[in-house]
């Protein structure tokens, strides 16, 4: 399957899962909103240019926004993490040329610790920006901090489960540089 087709299917699936499963879940607590959809941006291939990545992030967020009736909220947060992503990868990648030898960021291509850091940093960034935008309209400081922490914890748990359930095989490609 080509990368483009794979990512298009992922695009649709992530939005459907977020809208029809995670958002339909019974209310647990006002601090907890289970978010998983932005994992799509973390899974995008290395080869995408930075402008392309930013645009995909914006478009992906906006598509979700029209379902949740919050135009611009998720788009802003997704644009931010899509823009920051290359910097974080550049800092964390351990082997020389791993971003050329593998297709996308994963446990295999980046190694356990760097990949986990990459996920935690971007998740925290996404949630902080998202809740900050919500907080500007209403809520207290406790709501702001509590929601970031609780939602990040739930998101990380969901990401871990997804990574374990849908293990992405990554082939080592040589002679690509």
């Amino acid at each position: 399957m080509s990368e483009l087709l794979k990512n298009t299917i992922r695009f649709i699936l992530f939005i459907l899962v977020q809208v029809f499963i995670l958002s339909k879940m019974p209310h647990l607590h006002r601090f907890i909103t289970p978010y998983l959809y932005f994992l799509y941006i973390l899974w995008l291939p290395f080869s995408l240019s930075r402008a392309g990545l930013t645009f995909v992030g914006f478009f992906f967020g906006l598509c979700l926004d029209y379902f949740t009736k919050t135009p611009g909220l998720h788009a802003a947060a997704c644009t931010l993490i899509a823009y920051v992503r290359p910097f974080v990868i550049g800092l964390l990648i351990s082997q020389e040329g791993a971003d050329k030898n593998y297709i996308a960021p994963s446990f295999v291509s980046m190694g356990w610790a760097p990949y986990a850091t990459y996920v935690v940093v971007l998740t925290l960034l996404h949630h902080t920006y998202l809740v900050l935008l919500e907080w500007m309209n209403f809520g207290s400081f406790i709501y702001f901090v509590g929601k970031i922490i609780a939602s990040t914890a739930v998101s990380l748990l969901l990401i871990l489960l997804t990574e374990l359930l849908f293990f992405r095989k990554q082939k080592f490609r040589t002679n690509t540089i």
């Binding site: 019974p26 930013t54 009736k69 611009g72 788009a75 802003a76 823009y83 209403f138």
Partner: protein, 284 residues
């Protein structure tokens, strides 16, 4: 000039990011203020169709509850039939006259349109419902929406066949309501804590309130006719710094299982609004 192009070229990624951020934030702030955004009409139509597909399946799992709530409502309405009201003596007979015609002129105020809920959320701080009835079927923004058990929210956006309803569980929603026993009015808002409770503010401490008291709509609000159910008082919170109570009200509507709603078309809304606006202009 050349330097400008060099600058744009060098920082293209960052500038592109900034432009997208500004677009996204302008969408967001515009929507929060005026409930409008670019492509919102088209997208409501598209997401409405997808939600409808999903709802077709989900609907079967809720059939029992939907049926129960409709039977309950029928029971309540049957109780109001005029045949149920009869004193033992014909001299004291009480008749409810339902023909509201005054010298050939109709004085109907609220026209009721039924609608199916195709999408519904309760988990966020800003919750919306999508209903399968839109502009072509007579829905306009600023119409009240009620369910079989109690009020639900108000219409904020309309596309051709679908409409978006701002639920009572939204931080911007507000409606005037009264306590049934004392006729005391107060504002209903949502504090975002739990989808089962809303807050009623500014009830004077001189009023006698008890747990379980009924909260109803008033005719002051142009969204709803009087005496629709809002909820029941669940908790009375005395505010020590003022002479008002804050009440926690359990909503009559169960927002997680709602399948059918009624849209209330206030036929006299335009006239009332026009008068109020012109009065405001005169005062200024």
């Amino acid at each position: 000039m050349r330097n400008v192009f060099v600058f744009i070229r060098r920082h293209f990624n960052f500038l592109f990011f900034l432009v997208l951020q500004i677009i996204a934030l302008s969408f967001l702030f515009r929507f929060n203020k005026f409930h409008e955004a670019a492509f919102l009409n088209v997208s409501t139509e598209v997401t409405g169709r997808i939600n409808e597909r999903y709802n077709n399946i989900e609907y079967y799992f809720q059939l029992k509850k939907t049926n129960e709530s409709l039977v309950q409502e029928n029971l309540r309405l049957r109780q109001l039939l005029k045949e149920n009201y009869e004193g033992p003596d014909s001299a004291r007979r009480l008749i409810y006259d339902t023909i509201k015609v005054d010298s050939g002129r109709t004085i109907l105020k609220y026209k009721i349109l039924e609608a199916k809920v195709v999408s519904n959320s309760t988990s966020g701080p800003a919750n919306y419902l999508t209903i399968h009835r839109g502009f072509d079927q007579g829905v306009r923004p600023n119409m009240g929406v009620t369910g079989p058990q109690g009020i639900v929210g108000s219409v904020i956006n309309v596309s051709k066949n679908f409409a978006t309803v701002q639920s009572m569980l939204h931080y911007q929603f507000g409606v005037v309501a009264k306590l049934k026993n004392s006729n005391e009015t107060g504002n209903i808002n949502w504090d975002g804590q739990s989808p089962q409770y809303v807050i009623m503010k500014r009830i004077s401490k001189s009023v006698k309130v008890e747990k379980g008291d009924t909260v109803l709509t008033t005719q002051i609000s142009s969204l709803f006719p009087a005496n629709l159910m809002v909820g029941t008082v669940a908790e009375i919170i005395p505010d020590n710094s003022s002479s008002f109570y804050t009440l926690r009200v359990k909503t009559a509507t169960n927002f997680s299982t709602i399948e059918y709603v009624y849209v209330l078309d206030n036929l006299q809304y335009d006239e009332q609004k026009k008068l109020e606006d012109s009065t405001r202009k005169k005062i200024q």
